[in-house]
Each structure stands twice: as C-alpha cells, then as structure tokens.
Symmetry: C2
C-alpha cells in the first residue's frame, strides 16, 4: 500500500496544474500523480508536430519527470483500474494499492470513434489521442505518405489538415463548414477561402460512410454519402473526444450527460473527498445552462485551481457560472478566435440577440508595415445588451484580444460598459483609439437605443 495525502489520477494540463497548485498551497502534504505513460505532450501542440514548425514529436514533449522531481511531486507510472471510494484506495494495473486522503480525478478524454462509419478502426485509420507513444508511431507512418484524408472539421481536423498541407502533402478534408460550433458562417467562409489556397481539397458538408480497404486490408479510399470516393493512403479521424470516465463510473461515481462525472461548484463529486476536474468533469454552458461537451485545457486548469483551493476547506468559489467556450487558432497567417455563443447557436437556443461586426486595422496609421485587418463581431442579448459572444479575425494579437472579450463575457458586461472601456492603444500594437473595434462594434449596437432626437 502506497499512502498519499493528495492523489491525482491523470497526466494532462488539469493534473499538472492540480499537482503544482497542491504543492503551492499545502507544502506539508504529500502529493502523488499517477499517469499511464512516462511521456507527456502538449495536447494542443499535437497538430503542429505534423507541420513545418516543430521538428519531431519530441519538440512537443513535456519533461514531466524532471519537473515533478523539482517540485517534490511523487510521479508514478501506472494505470488505475478500479477505485474503492469507501475505503479510499485506488488499484493499479498490476494490483498495486494507493490510499489517499484527498483524490482528484483528472482522467481527461479519449478520441470518439464514429461507429457509423464502416471500418472506422481499420489499418491505416488514425485517431488523435493525447498519448505520446501513439502520436510518435503515427508521425513516423504519416511522414512517408503523400495523400491523406482528414475526417472532421473541428479544431484538431482543421489544424492537422493545415499543417500536413504546409508540409507538402495532398489533403482531403471531409466535414461540415469549418469550426461550425465556434464560428458563424461568414467567419467559416473566410477561413475556407484562406485554407483552399493551401493544398487542401475540402469536401464541404460531405459525410464519410465507409473506409474502403485495399487487398492488404488497409484504408485506401473514403466513400462519401453521395457515393463519391476519395483516394488516400491513410485516414485521420478528427471526430471529437469523449470523457475518459469508464473506470470511475464502473467504480460507482455519479455521472451526468455525455458520461461526464458530476461535480458541484467546488469541483466535488458525490464521493467523499473525491474531486473531478478537466475533460472528465461535467461542464455547463454559461448561458444555455445545458451540460455541454466542451473540452478546453484552459477550463481544465481553472477547475484544477478551484478544486485544489477547496481540498481541505472552502477557500474559493468558482466565479465562472458556466463554461464560456473560448478558442483561438491560426489559418495561413490569419488568426481566428471565438468566445461565448455564436449567433447561429443563439438562434437555435431561442436566445434573441443583436450583433455587429466591425473591420478595423491592428496598427495605426494603417500605412505602418505589417498592418493586419482586424474583424470583431459582438453578439449581445437583445433584452439587456449583455455581451454573450464574440468572434475575431486578425493578426497574432487576436490570441489575447479574445481573452479581453472572455473577461467581458465572464463579468457579464454590456454594450454600454464597452463604450466606456479604457484600453491602451499604440501605433505599432493596436488599432487607433478612435477605431478600436470592440468599442466600435458596441457603439453600433448602442445606437439602436440612444438618441434619435
């Protein structure tokens, strides 16, 4: 029996932050992390392994062992197969027993396998698990190929397709409009117009029906629902993720929709002294209040900090009243980012909204070199003008601009608050103070309600 005060199961961002935070807050407690593999990688860095930016999968590895040692964290490589919540013991694959005072489940998520596609798990069909060993082998195989079909147009599908194309490969991308859940149609269309110049054939709104195998039983074609066949040497399935919760649920923990683990506002599960954080824990949408399958490392790490603060006493209330869904990505040299709900999704959820889109520059005067157009769309509740969604297209600073909008949504600011916004502007760094696009878009909405004298 190995005893720990604080036991964390998992190896992703939630587990890493939970362990570091536990060290910060509870220096007298022993902290143990149990993860399946020696190696760890930056999950959202995986697509870039397949492109020209990183030289090999190793460039995406996290030196977990060294860091754990430095931090005084006990790192154990094992797979937990069962937990006895009553006696507070987790069981390893080889029968090892780990007892705990406080347990944090951070088991993450695993690729979703689309069983409606025939031969979905055949030879030559790859998934994108956040597992270094799998990704290393996949990388070696994909590297030698020329034509690859990518099924799925979420972030992982779009980014892997883009990176493979930049490495000179011929890509068939199959799925609905790009990043449909994070962006409105006009944003997807701009993304598509940039991507199409990049060695990619986009089979838009097509669905894969079957992976056709060759005489070696290896994927050689994708058969679409319209009977079209797409030839390829391999298929990458970027068809989403599901919570990795089978072990915890089989051990008796309460679950919620999408097989997530039930958690309260302090990240406590229904079992005594057991917390769950990250992709395996339930998420609710900030505005629709529904359970949603959004999986984000940044949400996971915020949850880790809430859970650890509340391990022994309630020290901190989760101040976000739901997950806002905040994303950014890069297509070509243009950045796309989104926070909150899209106009399309708001309409589906019967949320009356008003919106405004402003196109500005990210430098001023616009004659400065490297000026990049900057598009900001704001979506506000029609009733109170509270901001509930935003989308941005622009240069490299789009990655932080969306985080301004994230705080605005989280703090339930409205259009009039934005008219008041005090922002730093600088010729080389932002749009002009007279044209700051977040404020301009707010004013476009405000003018529906002011004046007309």
């Amino acid at each position: 029996m190995q005893k720990s005060d604080i036991l964390i199961i998992g190896g992703g961002p939630a587990a890493i932050v939970a362990a570091n935070t536990a060290r910060d807050y509870y220096p007298k407690k022993s902290v143990t992390v149990i993860k399946k593999s020696e190696k760890s990688l930056v999950p959202c860095g995986i697509p870039y392994i397949f492109g020209p930016l990183l030289q090999s999968p190793k460039d995406d590895f996290i030196p977990c062992g060294e860091r754990a040692k430095k931090m005084g964290i006990n790192l154990i490589i094992d797979e937990i197969v069962k937990i006895d919540f009553d006696n507070k013991i987790a069981f390893g694959k080889e029968g090892e027993e780990y007892s705990y005072e406080k347990l944090i489940l951070a088991t993450g998520s695993i690729p979703n396998k689309p069983k409606n596609i025939e031969n979905y798990d055949a030879k030559g069909v790859f998934y994108v698990p956040k597992e270094a060993d799998y990704i290393e082998k996949m990388y070696e195989k994909i590297k030698k190929l020329q034509t690859i079909a990518v099924i799925g147009t979420g972030f992982i599908g779009v980014e892997i397709a883009g990176e493979l194309a930049k490495s000179g490969k011929k890509i068939h991308l199959i799925g609905p409009r790009l990043l449909k859940n994070a962006f409105d149609e006009e944003f997807s269309e701009q993304m598509e117009s940039i991507m199409l110049s990049e060695n990619i054939t986009f089979h838009k709104n097509r669905h894969a029906k079957k992976i056709v195998l060759n005489e070696e039983n290896k994927a050689s074609k994708v058969l679409l629902e319209n009977e079209e066949e797409v030839e390829c040497e391999a298929v990458i399935m970027a068809t989403g993720y599901r919570p990795n919760t089978k072990m915890a649920i089989d051990s008796g923990i309460s679950k919620r929709q999408f097989d997530t683990i039930y958690v309260d506002e302090y990240m406590r599960t229904t079992k005594k002294d057991v917390f769950a954080i990250g992709d395996c824990a339930e998420k609710r949408h900030f505005i629709t209040r529904r359970t949603i399958p959004i999986m984000l490392a940044s949400t996971a790490t915020a949850e880790a900090r809430v859970a650890v603060a509340n391990l022994y006493n309630i020290n901190m209330v989760k101040s976000f009243s739901g997950t806002i869904g905040i994303f950014s990505t890069v297509v070509g040299d243009t950045c796309f980012a989104s926070a909150g709900i899209t106009e399309e999704n708001a309409k589906c959820e019967k949320i009356p909204v008003v919106s405004s889109t402003i196109i500005s520059d990210d430098k001023h005067p616009s004659k400065l070199p490297n000026n990049h157009k900057q598009t900001v769309k704001l979506i506000a509740l029609k009733s109170s003008l509270q901001i509930i969604g935003a989308q941005v297209i622009g240069g490299i600073d789009t990655g932080e601009m969306i985080n301004i909008l994230g705080v605005i949504i989280e703090k339930r600011m409205n259009v009039f608050d934005l008219l008041n916004l005090q922002v730093a502007t600088h010729p080389l760094l932002t749009s002009a103070p007279t044209a700051y696009p977040i404020v301009q878009a707010a004013q476009n909405i405000a003018k529906l309600r002011i004046g007309k004298e």
Copy 2:
C-alpha cells in the same frame, strides 16, 4: 452667425469620436467641428514619422476633410478665441460667430515648456505639439542632422529617441529612468538594456540646466546640472503636455488642478449645455482619487462617447470610476505595457500592496519559432487582493494582453477571480494553459492566503 445643433471645438481623437458618435446617435441634428488647421495627424504616431517605419509625415495624416464630408459633418477651419456661455456663441479669430445648442470642448493639450531650463525656446529647440504643420517643418530640419539631444524620458521622449536612433542618428537622451510613471524600476532597467544597444547615450538621472547656443544663437549643447556638456545639433523637448484650456478658462469656465476643466461623471462642465472631453478635461485617478495629468487618446475617446450619449438626456453613466492609466510601447522588438498604478507609486501614496512577477513564454511548446519571453507583474491591494496595477513585457500581443488587465482593474477583480479566468490558449498565440502568466502571478499571491494545512 453660423448655427449648429452640436458644436465641437478641437481636432484630436476626442473631437473625431465625438463628431462620429453624434452622427450615429442624432441623425437629425447638425454637427459642426471647428479645428485650427486643415491637416490632422495621428498623435501617437508622431514618433514613428522620425523612424524608418513611416516614409514621411504625410503617412501619419488623417484625411479629416474627406471623412467629415462622408459622415455629413460640417468641418470649419478657424480658431475659437472666446466663448459667450450665456448666449451660447463661440467667436472665431476673424470675428466669425458660431452659435450652438450643445457645445463640446475637446481642445486637447499643448507641449509643456520647462521655463527652468535656460533658452528653452531658442532656435534649434523643438517641441512635439500635435500639429501637422509644425511636425512637417520639424521633420525636414531634423532629417538633415546627425546628433540630437532628447530631453525627457516619458513615452514621447523614449519613442522619438528610439526611432531617430533606428534612422542612424546619434542620440543623447536626458532624464530619469525610462517611463518612470508607468513602470517599476526593474521594468525600466530591462527597457534601458535594450535601448542602449541602439545608438543612444542615456544620461540617466541627469537634468538639463541650460541650452547652450552657438554664434548663430542656435542650440549646440545641453548643459547638465553636473556641469557636463552634451554636444548636439538640435534639442527635442519631450517634457510633457498641459491642458489647452486658456481660452475656455478666460471665457469663464470652472477649472480644476493643472488647469483642467471641471467635469462631472457625464462629462458636463459647470456651464449649461457645455461638455468637456479629452486632455482638456479633468481626470481623477481610479485608486488615489486625486486629479491627475494623465493624457491618453483612449481615455479621451471613451469620454467622447459618454459625453455624446448624454448630450440631450442621461443615457449612460461613465462606468469607469477614474482613469486607470493604460499604456503600451515598443523598444527594439520588445513590447512594454502598463495599467493602473505601479508598486513604487502605490508605496508613495501609502497604499499597501502585494505583487508577483511571472516569466512565461508567448507560445507553447517553447520550441515553436518566434517564441518570445513574456513577463507579467500583478500588483494587488494587500487587504482585499483587488488588482490595482499590472505591467507586461513581451511580444506583439502585449498590446492586447494589457487590455485584458485593464478590464480586470476596471471591473475591480481580485486575485481569486483571476484563478478562475477562462482564457483561450493556443500553441502559436499564447503561453500554455498551465503557465498562463496572469493566472500564475495571481496564484503566487493567492498562496499567501490559502492552505498551509
């Protein structure tokens, strides 16, 4: 007599936004702008006229005439010399009379001339007014010179010195540590270590006593207080600005400290139907509550929007309870930004604070090309842990990252709110979710208050 419904005096960012917003909100009202010169320039773009980024002063011009015409704004070139507030008439230089229903004073600021420096206004001594005609002439003269002394180490001094140096000129920069009011000492020192590699001799903590003239009565040396002499062909005085309010005060408007015009939370002056916005209007510090001489285009434009919304009815409360002072600039290829109060200034004001500084990367994994180190310092009230100041050093996205911190300060968020922050992270655009520096710095402060079990 020329009649207008809404009359705006001034030509800077506050006046531009006031005019555009008036058009947006009150389409039936006539809007007139009276400014001194046909030409307008982007004020914060002025330093870049003197460097390699812009080709000539014209690249920094704003096509005010065209834009006004397009927006249906009546643009008049004249100088208002007196206002009869009782009869609601403004008088032009040649005796022209302009009547108004509502008047907005946006007369801006003018260079502060340091009368304690002998020969402060001699030939070969230049100031940096926001006047296109002056800057054009100054540019033609400076262009031909090789050695220039810049007095003053605020934003304009540092930026002009940097740009002239990049154009191959030899610069003597004279003043206290760089950007003393916006940054703590360790940030100034980093800035200095970058600037010194750039053709600049920094006479740190030296004060100019006299401009020494040659036989043609032209500036040829700066005599410092320690009797050292700095040879130069011209002197640029970057010695701050003062409100351009003499005309309004002489006409009878109530003034406040630093000769600013008194305004309330709706930007109303003491005179009926008269509003003041921008550099000429009083500013109060968000935390010290003192009147402060901060002059920022972004604050000016926010005030313009508040004033115009409230011209005929109270439609909008100024939601910022004071000016937070939010700045960004670029030195070499490194960006520096600041919001709120510095640790040093907090101590001077007897505000007990705690602070934490985190150094992270702006990409992840850090092996990605163009990764830039990112330093974030947070300053919080020791009592409530409310964030009251922040400083950032980093790459190009520093310009928007400081605006996240601006919203955080404005919305009075505390360290625990930041631990909860939902941010978008992306390998090519931000630090890792596990290492996001704003959150890490917050945790460093939070750990003073949590745990120790």
